[in-house]
């Protein structure tokens, strides 16, 4: 018996120790707090967790009260531009607002609600919010699975164990390890790596005070814009869009309405100035009119702005990094339209 237990103990210990190297390596930067999350990081990280850590670091110092919330598509909205627009329109006369960008990979309705409840507890008051939505946003009515989408436990109120387990398992995932190993050796990006390694010659840059994130693509485009789009063209990233009018089906149903009502009550308590922005997506699919009417009924007509479908923002492919994410200058124009003329 002793021999058996000793052997089992030795084998399991070696095994556990080896696996725990993943925690030390910490490729997704979650097991420790980091000063810098984006320096030389080519691994796809959980954006919401990074935003959460930056938020924790800054919330006392800066008294954050104005927040941009959305998926990675919301990254185009920069707090600095928002601040300028609000101040220029005398919406913040004392210039006391402090801005923060809180986005998450594919963040949808369920997680946005959790996040708003969390912010409600954490900040003195939520004065301004921009909620960047699209047709995908309203599909999320429960917590999605996967390390890129799991919310920090302080926001989700779920167990820390599942949170860290999710990252641990992602760190030892064979395809992740193989992708990393090959990328580290060859420095070349192959198709099978696309779920794990960011395909860009430049790293993202983060503003660690506001949470704003700048894609490495910006640098690539500024150096060789033609080459950048030629590469995308070769990979058929910008597929030919139909000339027909496509309208999204009704997305806001009973479950969604319940969550939206929940969000509304928190924002009402805070007397928050909200802007709901329906993103201009490359697919040019129109946001459903019924859904738009509902959102306007809940949040007020002047606070809900739809930029979906065929329009000046979606026509030009150069307004996009790829088929999913539009550029910051588009977001700035949208903000100007949203807050009205000077």
């Amino acid at each position: 018996m002793k021999k058996f237990l000793k052997n089992v103990f030795i084998i399991i210990s070696i095994f556990v120790l080896t696996l725990s190297l993943a925690v030390i390596w910490d490729p997704f930067r979650v097991f420790r707090v980091y000063k810098e999350y984006y320096n030389e990081n080519y691994i796809e990280s959980n954006r919401e967790n990074i935003c959460y850590n930056l938020f924790i670091k800054n919330k006392e110092k800066t008294k954050i009260n104005s927040i941009i919330i959305g998926s990675s598509r919301s990254k185009a909205f920069k707090t600095e531009n928002w601040k300028n627009i609000i101040e220029s329109r005398s919406l913040d006369k004392n210039k006391k607002n402090r801005y923060f960008h809180f986005d998450g990979s594919g963040l949808g309705l369920y997680r946005a609600n959790k996040l708003i409840h969390y912010l409600d507890k954490e900040v003195d008051s939520i004065k301004n919010i921009i909620l960047v939505v699209d047709t995908d946003f309203f599909n999320e009515i429960e917590a999605p699975k996967g390390h890129l989408f799991i919310q920090p436990t302080a926001i989700s109120n779920e167990s820390s164990f599942s949170f860290y387990k999710s990252f641990f398992l992602a760190s030892i995932d064979p395809s992740f390890l193989i992708s990393n190993l090959i990328f580290s050796i060859t420095k070349k990006h192959y198709g099978f790596m696309k779920d794990h390694i960011i395909k860009s010659d430049y790293f993202s840059i983060s503003n660690n005070e506001t949470g704003d994130n700048y894609y490495g693509y910006d640098q690539e485009i500024s150096i060789d814009s033609v080459g950048f789009y030629k590469k995308l063209d070769e990979r058929n990233v910008f597929y030919t869009r139909t000339t027909d009018t496509i309208v999204s089906p009704t997305l806001i149903k009973e479950e969604q309405k319940k969550i939206i009502g929940d969000i509304k009550s928190v924002l009402e308590n805070n007397k928050t100035n909200i802007r709901v922005i329906v993103s201009p997506l490359y697919n040019q699919k129109y946001f459903n009119k019924e859904d738009l009417r509902y959102l306007r009924e809940v949040f007020g007509t002047k606070n809900v702005h739809d930029f979906s479908g065929k329009n000046v923002f979606t026509n030009n492919i150069q307004n996009y990094y790829e088929r999913s994410h539009f550029k910051p200058y588009i977001a700035t124009k949208i903000l100007e339209k949203t807050y009205g003329p000077l």
Binding site: M1, K3, I11, F15, L19, L169, P174
Partner: protein, 479 residues
């Protein structure tokens, strides 16, 4: 509780330590511990259905005594009562809705509209297994093969021993009960074999079966949009998935039992190396096939009364075996197809070929003839699995129609290529592993070189941890 869950990884060492360190001197306490652990294991899924397990256990324990202590005529009554009770439990939870719907259908054909009440109740996990344990116990007492057990805890351990409670192997009283009643002594080699079986079983389930689940689920859900080759790969993947899943479960069950000093019946003997349908059924889900043989085929007369009776009885056990898997026509047709594969062998007196040894037992490789027999058998089994996996008979029929490349006009070459690669990636290690181990399913042969051996353990354990999905259940839990 699932074998492939973190809870089980904690549960198993705790029970093991209590069993060998705290209660090792007292057999009664050891059995009480196993029984408690088994009830916790089962109650983890649903504590409410523990009552059903308890009821089934108590009734068969009582019938066992009643059968032994009464005359032949009366004992027959108690055997019948046991059958009614066990099949009644199965009938209510597993088959009631099926019959109610089918009766409604039949009545509507003759113009009578009925509206039967359907039960909205989950199928208790393991119900088909523990009811069969109970019945075999009472049958064996009736036939004089087994004496009734005095201690109800011993009997309850036989029915609900946690490694086999939810998906078998279906044990026999005269095999497991003596082990329950005998003092167990820790055996290093047995425990080591147990650990190896658990690891290999986990690998088959977590890596191979769950790895192929994505292809299978996608192909069977969207079969109408895939080309013939993708459908073929989907069907082949299911063959490997269900084998990895179920034999993986059985290996973990056998391995876990060894850790506690028990030897369970084998459930699989490398079925995909079978050279004909009859051999396949001697190698696939052996504990169920032999149960039906002993308690249904032989009482029906077996092959004693001529070929015609043998054909009738064979057809019955295959169809009942299909129906045992679930209350769906798909399973009945699945059983029927296997009967059709088996009967020609029976009629030609070729069903007893390859009884004793696995293919190429003393050779490294099979002959070309053997290889072609293996491939033909495997393809036949795969064809039958389509009915097993499809949601409805209609879907199975459509799936088979679309397997014909002249009929199917879809072109999904990218998915087909990707799925083919994944299929090869997952199935080759399993088949190679099985080929290496094929001479004895109970003793996992390991390389003599310690470094290579530990490296294999390490890789298997790493893949199991890395790919573990504790939401994935075993396919046979639904039966």
């Amino acid at each position: 509780m699932l074998f492939n869950s973190l809870e089980f990884l904690l549960f198993l060492p705790i029970v093991f330590i209590l069993y060998w360190f705290l209660f090792n001197k007292n057999l009664k306490w050891q059995n009480a511990l196993i029984l408690s652990a088994s009830y916790i294991f089962y109650g983890w899924w649903s504590y409410k259905f523990l009552l059903l397990l308890l009821l089934s256990t108590c009734l068969d324990y009582f019938y066992g005594f009643a059968v032994a202590q009464t005359n032949r005529k009366k004992s027959k009554v108690f055997v019948t009562l046991s059958v009614i009770n066990n099949l009644g439990i199965l009938g209510v939870f597993k088959y009631y809705n099926f019959f109610a719907t089918e009766f409604k259908h039949v009545f509507s054909l003759i113009g009578i509209e009925t509206n039967p009440v359907l039960l909205q109740v989950a199928l208790p996990i393991g119900i088909s297994f523990y009811t069969f344990h109970g019945m075999s116990y009472v049958f064996d007492i009736y036939r004089g093969r087994q004496k009734p057990v005095k201690n109800i805890i011993d009997y309850a351990v036989f029915v609900s021993f946690f490694p086999l409670l939810v998906a078998g192997p279906i044990e026999r009283a005269n095999h497991l009960l003596p082990q329950v009643q005998q003092k167990r002594v820790f055996n290093y080699n047995q425990a080591l074999q147990g650990c190896r079986l658990i690891l290999w079983g986990m690998f088959k389930k977590v890596v191979i079966a769950d790895g192929l689940a994505g292809i299978v689920n996608d192909t069977f859900s969207n079969y109408s949009s895939y080309d013939s080759m993708a459908l073929l790969i989907g069907a082949l993947s299911f063959s490997i998935q269900i084998y990895g899943d179920f034999s993986g479960y059985s290996d973990i069950a056998l391995g876990t039992s060894k850790l506690f000093g028990f030897e369970l019946l084998s459930n699989f003997r490398f079925p995909y190396f079978s050279r004909n349908s009859a051999e396949f059924w001697r190698r696939w889900h052996i504990s169920l096939s032999s149960w039906f043989k002993d308690y249904l085929y032989i009482p029906l007369g077996g092959s004693k009364h001529g070929k015609l009776m043998a054909v009738r009885n064979t057809m019955i056990i295959f169809i009942v075996s299909g129906f045992w898997h679930g209350a769906k026509w798909n399973f009945i047709i699945w059983g029927f197809i296997h009967a059709c594969g088996f009967l020609p062998l029976l009629l030609l007196n070729r069903n007893r070929l390859h009884v004793s040894t696995v293919v190429a037992h003393d050779e490294k490789y099979p002959t070309l003839k053997e290889l072609s027999q293996i491939i033909v058998t495997f393809m036949f089994v795969t064809f039958a699995w389509i009915f097993f996996r499809a949601n409805t008979l209609y879907e199975a029929g459509e799936y088979i129609k679309l397997l014909n490349p002249f009929y199917n006009t879809n072109n999904t070459i990218d998915t087909t290529l990707k799925n083919t690669l994944l299929f090869l990636l997952y199935s080759i290690p399993l088949l190679l592993g099985d080929w290496y181990l094929r001479r004895d399913e109970r003793v996992l042969r390991v390389p003599k070189n310690r470094v290579i051996r530990y490296l294999i353990y390490f890789i298997l354990a790493y893949l199991c941890v890395a790919m573990m999905n504790d939401k994935s259940t075993f396919i046979y839990f639904q039966f």
